[in-house]
Structure formats: C-alpha cells, structure tokens
C-alpha cells in the first residue's frame, strides 16, 4: 500500500486536470469492481454490484484533484506569473519546487518585499529556468497549471508529502474495493474532480448516482502541533468521524451508524468538529431531495502545504472502517 500511496501522491493532478491520477486508479481497481466509467464532469465512478435483494446505493467519494498554480502571464525575462487554483497560502509557496503537466520543473519565489507581511500571490512568480518570453512560450501556455514537485516519504509510521489531501482518501477507497469482498448493497466508489475549488465533482456525481447514503473520505486538520488553533483531533488517535464542518452537519442517524460500526469492530476513532472547510460530503448531502451523508476524515497536519503529514495507523483504521461500512448488509435496517 505504501507504494500505491507514493505513486498517487506524487502524481500530477490539479483541479480540472485529474486524468493521470484517474488512469492510475483505474489500473488499480479494474479487477475488483464490476463497472468503471468516467462521467461528463470527469469523475471516475466504480461500481461494486451488490448481491442482496433489496439493494441500496452507497456512494463513497474521495477527491483526486489537488491544489495548483495557474499560469496567467509570461514575463519578458521568462518568469511566469500565476494565480491560485484552490486554497493556497502564499507563505507555503516561498521556495517551493513545482512541476507542470509536461514534466517541466521549476520553483516559486517573490519580488523583493520590505516586509513579508506584504507577500501576496501577485508579488510571486515561477522560475522555470528559462531566460526569455520566447523560450518560456515553447514550454508553457497561459492557463497551464503547476503543482508541488515533492517526493513522498515514510518516516516512523508517518507519511509526508504533497497532495495527501486527498490522494490518501483515494488510496483508502482503492483498498476498500480490494478488501470488501462480496457486498449486499451497491457500492459506488467515486473519485471526484474539482473538490478544491468548490466540491463540484461531488455535487454532480451525487446528482447522477442519487445514492441512499454518501460517505466522503478526506483529510481534516489537527490541533496537536505547537501553538495550534484549538481542535480536538490528533494524529495517531484513529479515524476522525466528522460531526461538523462548513459544508455539513452529520445527521444523528449517520453519526450513530458510523460510530456503532467503529465500536462494534473495535476500530480506533475520534470525533471531529472542524471550524472551517468542506468536503464532498456536504455536496452529496444537498443533492436532489437531500442525501444522508457522513465523512471519514484522516487527521492531517500542514494541509495544503507541500509537506502534508498523516499517520499510517490512521490510514489503516480508516480503511477498516470504510470496509466495514461498505460491507454491512444490515446498514439500513438499524
């Protein structure tokens, strides 16, 4: 699984350009599911057909996209100006290495500033080693999107790398497909697009599938680092069951269903109240007439930086819980 996580997180896949990631995922799960298709928005939808009589639809969603930098202007000297795709803190970009879809590498720096307080994206640029506008134009077009260029490392039970948000969720769903075995209900594993810019793939795929239950698998923040903002979620304390974020308040029923499953199966979990941020679960919840939805969150430090950190142990617990929820034939009887 480490290899899978490494491959997925290092891949190129900003919002709108998730193809490479989707192809990797397809290869991984094609032997374990009954149907695989890409929908109009670009979401990869895998179906594991249920064997039960009174089948319900459960939709799992993890987003395949990552944040990126869109090229908006090429300077005479070959430097690239850019804007953000998804939520990016400019301070996380200083000195960051980046890559374009073509494989072209580069780095980010900024104009001279009297104070770092003045740091804004418009004061920043990418340096791709080119020394003129003409040279740059051969390598890059306006509208191209760069992502962090970062190798993923495993240190002492921790995973550190870029785009763990939310390729780690993709890895969880892939493992779920592999481990769940025969199921009673129809299990849709959806690898969504454009989550980072507003839950868009989750919204349209939930409309198409119209499931009876939606579960997103995504990362969440933690409060376990020095001087962190208060939050009762920590690395290594298990899968975080979402109670609330800006996009979702989990209903009592869904909360109970997930917590009961974790308790019954002895899976280590914690409860998550997130001040800001949303996941595909919020979009699924509001599709059509309303769809019961929840979210299994992976506690993650330094979200949206080029070194996001999660605990391998939490990943394993999340997989266990996802497998048990997907495989539970009594889910809707309770």
């Amino acid at each position: 699984m480490k290899e899978l996580i490494k491959k997925l997180t290092e891949a190129y896949g900003p919002s709108g350009y998730e193809n490479d990631v989707m192809n990797m995922i397809k290869e991984e799960i094609k032997d374990y599911v009954d149907d695989l298709k890409i929908d109009k928005m670009g979401n990869l939808v895998a179906l594991k057909q249920g064997k039960g009589n009174d089948r319900k639809k459960i939709m799992f969603a993890a987003h395949a996209d990552e944040i990126g930098l869109m090229v908006t202007h090429i300077e005479k000297e070959g430097f690239l100006r850019f804007t953000n795709i998804g939520g990016i803190n400019p301070y996380n970009l200083v000195g960051a290495r980046i890559k374009l879809q073509s494989g072209q590498k580069g780095m980010v720096s900024h104009e001279h500033l009297d104070s770092m307080k003045d740091l804004k994206l418009e004061k920043m640029y990418m340096d791709i080693g080119s020394s003129s506008e003409e040279e740059s134009k051969k390598i890059v077009s306006l509208g191209d999107i760069a992502v962090y260029d970062q190798k993923t490392q495993f240190i002492d039970g921790r995973i550190m790398g870029k785009a763990i948000d939310d390729r780690i969720g993709c890895a969880v769903l892939i493992e779920t497909a592999k481990q769940v075995g025969e199921v009673d209900n129809d299990i849709f594993l959806v690898f969504t697009v454009q989550e980072e810019v507003g839950l868009r793939g989750g919204r349209t795929s939930a409309y198409s599938i119209n499931p009876d239950l939606g579960i997103a698998v995504d990362v969440t923040r933690t409060g376990d680092t020095p001087g962190a903002k208060r939050m009762d979620v920590a690395l290594g304390k298990g899968v975080a069951i979402k109670i609330k974020d800006s996009s979702l308040i989990t209903s009592q029923k869904v909360k109970k269903l997930i917590i009961d499953t974790a308790e019954r199966e002895n899976i280590k979990y914690q409860l998550e109240v997130l001040e800001r941020g949303g996941t595909d679960a919020g979009a699924i919840n509001l599709a059509r007439e309303g769809i019961p939805a929840g979210c299994l969150s992976l506690p993650c430090r330094y979200v949206h930086s080029y070194s996001e950190v999660v605990a391998l142990e939490d990943v394993e617990n999340t997989i266990k819980l996802a497998v048990k929820v997907a495989g539970n034939s009594q889910l809707f009887q309770e």
């Binding site: 903002k229 009762d232 609330k244 308040i249 009592q252 109240v273 059509r288 007439e289 309303g290």
Partner: protein, 351 residues
Amino acid sequence: MELKDFITRISEATGVSGNEEEVGEIIQEAFRTLADDVYVDKLGNVIARKEGKKKSEAPPLMFAAHMDEIGFLVSKAEDGGFIRFEPLGGIDPRTLPGQEVVIKGREKIRGIIGAKPPHVQDAKEREQAIKMEKLFIDCGRSQEELNEIIQVGDFISFYQELTWLKENICAGKALDDRAGVAALSILLKELGNRSHDFDVIAVATVQEEVGLRGAITGSYHINPAVGIAIDVGFARRKGLEKERTLQSGAGPGISWGPHVHPQIFNKLKEIGERDEIPYQLEPVPFPSGTDTYAIQMSRCGVATGLISIPLAYMHTPVETINIKDIKRTGRLLASFCAEADEKFLEGLPCL
C-alpha cells in the same frame, strides 16, 4: 393549541441547526391537528400538506419557515471540567458572556458561558471584545462527571424561558424563525375554514442558519410553482436606520427585490390593502440569507415571495416580537392561498 402556548413551547424547545428533532416533534404534533398529511423528509424538514379542492397534479404552493436556531457544538472538553465550543450560525461573541445554555449529551445538562473575570484583566484587555475561543461553558461539574455525559460534537442550545413583556409582546430565544413557524400554524388553521384550489404545503425547514440547506433540498423535493418564505426582519430600535428596519407591531414586511416575483408581491400587497391587514414594505437590493433565495433557484425556478416578521435583537436569547404580526402574516397568506387560482398561476411565467 393556543398560539401563545405554541410559541412558548417551540421557543423553549431545543433545535440548533442539524439537531432540530425536539422542536420538530412539537411542530409535527401541532400540524397534525391542522393538515391532511404530516411527515419528515430526508434532511429533517417537517412537511404538512393541506389538500386543495382541485385534487390535480398541479404543483403545490409552498410556505417555508425555518425551525432551526443558532447554537453551538462541544469542540473540546478541557481539564478542570470546562467545555470549549464552536458556533453554529452567525453569533456575535460579545453577546455570550453570562448566557445560560443546555448541553445535549447523554442527558441534558445546564451550564453558564464564562469568561476570564474583568478583575484579573489588565486595562487593555478590558477594552477588547472577548473572542469566541476565549469563552467556555461551566457546568459546575468535575471533568470525570462531564466525561460520563459529554463528548465532542454534542449540541448546545441557549437556555431561555419565554417572557411576555406585554400582552402581545414576548422575548425569548429562537423566535428567529419559530415566529415564522407559528405563522405557518395560523395559516393552516385559517385554511381549515377557507377553500383553496391547490395543495398547500407548509414546511418547517432545517439548517437555514448554516446555509439554507433544508430549503435547498426541501424545495427540490416539493417542486412547487409558488414558494413563499416567512422569516424575521430587523425591527426598528435605537440606532438603527429607518429605511433598513421594520416597525414592530405594524404588520409583516412584504419583501421586494430580485428574490421576489413581482406578481406574488403585488398579490400580497393587494390582499393586505383590501382585507385591511397592516403591512410594511421591505426593499432588499441584494438577495442573500433567507430560504426564499434557495427556493427561487430550485430546479427550473420557482415564483417566490418573502414575508418578514419584525423582530428585535436578532441572534440573541432575548429576541422580541409582537404576536399580532404573526397572526397577520397567517391571515395574509391564507387569503393568498384562497385566491391563487389557475388563472393566477398561468400568468406567472415571465414573457
């Protein structure tokens, strides 16, 4: 149930966004005596249907008021038995110190919102407003006791008994928008002795305070031709601009702006004039923030209206209303239902 009793019960019940079951039960019970069919939809909206005379397949008339209230969630139980919390909905932290709350853990327990005492603050600190993250809830219990009852994610509601300031004027929590729900009950009651062509559906929506969520899914589900929301508007008080406020006790505000269908607006005004039901105009240049906005944009679009009941001290536990405005709202809408015939509905698409 008498209106005053109903308002008292729903105001005092808990029903923070995402946790509306308790107030929802009371509303269901009341609506059952007034409507043909009452049920709860997937997100928790309470839906009451009163059948129209026409018994056609025509889309219904929808009336929505939200039953959720602002409140909090337990975000952390800290050493020493203190509880930290996260707001649900727009809350001014300056209104919080010294408020009473109820926490819905394994059992309901009461507590007080506390802050660092002014005596131990330095001069500079005392000039600052206290931030939400500096506040805590004290239940007078030890950490061990609390751990048995409370966990992260439990809902917290203001604790407040409704007070009658004058015969028709009451103050309490959650009147935004339980006042609207009370108006729905008047509407259904009035329709008991008035005939109307089309099905009327009254909805007590959930999760309005966190993003109109109940109205989004509820209107998709109901798929109405006409949708009118009943919410509260700012009552005129000291220091507030006249043109952005409504006068308490002078009748409901009939809202006007891009979120309102001109013919629904005209009809409501016309009825107000003719039946001598006092009303006020409420111009809103930029749509945001009430169920109307969500309903209007549902599916292929809905012809919408918005009624605002004047309410003072919004989003505090002493929200103040005049119940005459609630009764007037119910009557106004009942006449609207009685007069919304096929011809009126056919004229609504704009060409």
